[in-house]
Amino acid sequence: MAPSEVVMLNVLLLTLACFGVGAAGALLTAPWPRMSRLVGHACALVGAIGALALGAAGLAGGALGVIIPALLPIGGFSLGIDRLSAFFVLVIAVAAIPSALYAIAYTRAYEGRRSLAGMGCGFNAFLAGMVLVVLARNVLTFLVMWEAMSLASYFLVMTEAEHRETQRAGWMYLVMTHAGFACLLVGFLLMARETGTMGLSEWRAASTTLSQPMRHAIFALLALGFGTKAGVIPLHIWLPKAHPAAPSHVSALMSGVMIKLGIYGLVRIGFDWLGVGPSWWGGAILVVGAISAVLGVLYALVEDDLKCLLAYSSVENIGIILLGVGAGMLFHSYQLGALASLALVAGLYHTLNHATFKPLLFMGAGAVVHATHTRNMEEMGGLIKRMPQTAVYFLVGSVAIAALPPFNGFVSEWLMFQSLLLSFQISATGTNLLFAVSIAALALTSGLAAACFVKAFGITFLALPRSTQAEQARETPWMMRGAMGMSAIACLVLGVAPVGLLRLLNTTAAELTGAHADASFNWNAIVANGAFGTASPLWIAVALISLPALILMALRIIGANARRRTYETWGCGRALQTARFEYTAAAFANPFKRVFGLLYRPVKELDIQFHPESRFFIDTITYRNEARSIFDEALYDPISRLVRRVAQRARVVQSGNVHLYLLYIFVALVVLLALAS
């Protein structure tokens, strides 16, 4: 073992030890809630820092290989690291560090509740599970860790199990995640049988012997399994329910990184395990990505529940990432390795970016929910005066996720556009049109995302408070603000100086596609494909910071009136300006609801109760205008009805008689023995 490898191994062991101590410590100190909270999350924080080091070292080219045969049957517990794994470890760490810091203060509200110790334990197990999934090097290790990650997150979602809404969300999450797991299991076992090896690293070489139909089948199964975890439409239905139900630091991790492991899997099957695929694989991913991006942001736009809005926006961002991955696979299948790398770099960089701004937004939402005790934006407003720092951080997150300069979302989305525009190098008209449509989808998504986050930030933080809770809101503890500040700074740094990471990602992508992207990443400009397009995040940031200051100075010099008078908002002559005059979240989204009515199929109900004496006096007006999800109605309701009907029939075998059950076991055993011989 090389000395560098020994160091890597030690870092890994220390990281896992931290998570282990955190998980056990949180449980053992359960009788002392304060202690349990601190031990659980502080260990998670240190572990996450270890993961950051591990990821950074791996991305720079560090190697690692461990096999512990005693821990698991068939191949043992096998871990390893390559650049792609290292990048995803980095992504996990970037989201986990602020989330853990935030959790130390945030979980204080849970002191005195029974769920606290379990939460600390689950949080560590969740982090460890995610890190080990991307490091897993054989089938069994991967599947066991995947399941551990899913179960840990399930228990975290169920933290507030006393709410009926949470129970429903948890149930749906459990069902969907296991449906996905079943697909993965079958896919992995098929692959292992066909290639004759359980080692994931050997699959790339071994997959060349696969028959064509088998490759398609395995691709479809694994894509379904990973797609469910990523939350792509139409497999997304668990996501907008489970993410808001979890505590905010857990939502931050589930939305920020857990769904990215679905992306990790898709990148693995598309570029690594199955080799170069036919063009329909990439095309399918591209189409699913475009649909997820547009529909995700459209559903986010009409949400009035702040955390639900953020969850739907994760569906959108997964869609954007998949546009990069799908485009990469398509370019790859047309032997355009350099372009495939560019698209993959864009997709992976967006993955990292989303892992910085989505936790930031969830932490901000958590702070707001903490202060106002509601998730409904219609009861917020005016918080920028009461929580000025949280407001700034949430604004940074909003600008970043709307992909506006000078923050990080802009860099990845610009790269994405650049790589999609380069699709004219393929000479197949159908494919070109597919790309044209996905460019339009990405553009529509970015416009709608800007609208969505104007709504999210504007309705929540600006104007007058809409409820007494919002009026009395107070700024959060310093640790929560510090965590948000860290993420906000990360958004700015990744947006202004993306150079180093983009270069490393270029190497990572080249490992998968066999060619470096034809792009130069320098401090003062990113140049794609021989000056096909250039952008300089650094200089844009410099200009956006210095120009407003210059304008202010210029106005002073030319003698503008610098006085300012504070007065009430002009109210059309009305004497009183109250929050009732403000535009609401629902009203803000209404133009979109009308324009895209075909997708939302809004239910409109207007119920006016008149006074019994005279119709000129109105007692109450009830107005309901909700968007419905076409997927629930058209896809999942029939499936769940069918499952229910089958389950009803199958109940006859469940008599409650132990002797009968023993008979079942006996029959099953005989049948199995007969089959085996």
């Binding site: 460019i439 339009a440 504007g458 300006q577 009203a587």
Partner: protein, 314 residues
């Protein structure tokens, strides 16, 4: 180095100082077409000066975002003035951003303006913000597809390269794809700059307005910056339209005579487009808000046709 610097300064001056003149010209031509005499073309300068001299009244419900937005908005427009090829095919700051960066800069301005519209807490501002974001979101796909059409055609998304290709190959300018992309881009320019038939820049306090409703609470130097930025946005869009699609007269070499020709050509082209806008605004009524998607999807279809025509007529 010095010439590069001088070119950038000239561009800033042309866009910064020319914007009020352009607004004045559109208003004057419109008045004439409607049989009114109208104010002189220099009136917007007087308006801006008057606003500068007044104190700013700021609503008590607002925060720093409201006061910061006018400066940011003007800054994004000045930055875009530095990025576009105005007189020469060489934009010295071209490396800072291509046409996609430009579109994102506009969106950044719109984003903050929409937030500022929500700040005052009146129904007007919120309504304007909501509508402005709807128009911006629906216009975005058209912009990008039009850019795709141009990129197909030129093989580049850098603004200077697009102009250079167009100027050196005049026949390309007459291809159907190019013309379709021009029309699509023109409609989007009307939507983005808040002109008829999308928005009426001449009304205040109508329920139909978009941009004006959003900036209703602004006064004094803040309003001056916003009006100035709106003028610059119009000028930048018209300059883009004229130089990307009709690149005649743009200077290839940095000589005084070429620059003088380029300057006159720019004035003629932008002036012609301004007269065109005035004519459209006189001849057309404002569309109902919910008819706008039809207009914008129409322009999207044109842009898509432009792409298709490039793909088939290679």
């Amino acid at each position: 180095m010095l010439t590069q610097f001088l070119i950038e300064v000239t561009q800033l001056l042309i866009v910064g100082l020319g914007a009020p003149l352009l607004i004045g010209l559109v208003r004057r031509v419109k008045a004439r077409l409607q049989g009114r005499r109208g104010a002189g073309v220099l009136q917007p300068y007087a308006d801006l000066r008057k606003l500068l001299a007044k104190e700013a009244v700021v609503s008590e419900t607002t925060s720093w975002i409201f006061r910061f937005t006018p400066y940011l908005l003007a800054a994004t427009m000045l930055l875009s003035a530095l990025l576009i090829p105005l007189l020469t095919t060489r934009t010295p700051l071209g490396f800072v951003g291509n046409i996609i960066v430009l579109m994102y800069l506009f969106l950044l301005g719109t984003f903050f303006l929409a937030l500022a519209g929500l700040e005052a807490g009146s129904a007007f501002g919120g309504m304007g913000s909501s509508r402005e974001m709807a128009v911006a979101a629906l216009a975005e796909p058209t912009v990008m597809i039009a850019i795709f059409a141009i990129a197909l055609h030129v093989g580049n998304t850098g603004l200077d390269e697009i102009v250079r290709r167009g100027a050196s190959d005049p026949l390309l300018l007459l291809s159907p794809g190019h013309l379709l992309a021009f029309v699509a881009f023109f409609i989007v320019a009307l939507a983005e700059t808040g002109r008829l038939p999308v928005d009426n820049p001449a009304t205040h306090l109508e329920l139909t307005m978009i941009h004006e409703a959003m900036v209703l609470e602004y006064s004094g130097r803040h309003l001056m910056l916003i009006e100035w930025a709106a003028g610059m946005k119009l000028l930048v869009f018209l300059a883009l339209l004229s130089n990307l699609f009709l690149p005649w007269g743009v200077a290839f070499t940095v000589t005084p005579s070429a620059l003088a020709v380029a300057f006159i050509a720019l004035i003629i082209k932008v002036g012609a487009l301004a007269i065109g806008i005035a004519a459209i605004e006189t001849a057309m009524a404002k569309l109902r808000l919910f008819r706008l998607p039809a207009l914008l999807s129409g322009s999207f279809a044109l842009a898509l046709l432009a792409v298709i025509s490039f793909l088939f007529v290679k």
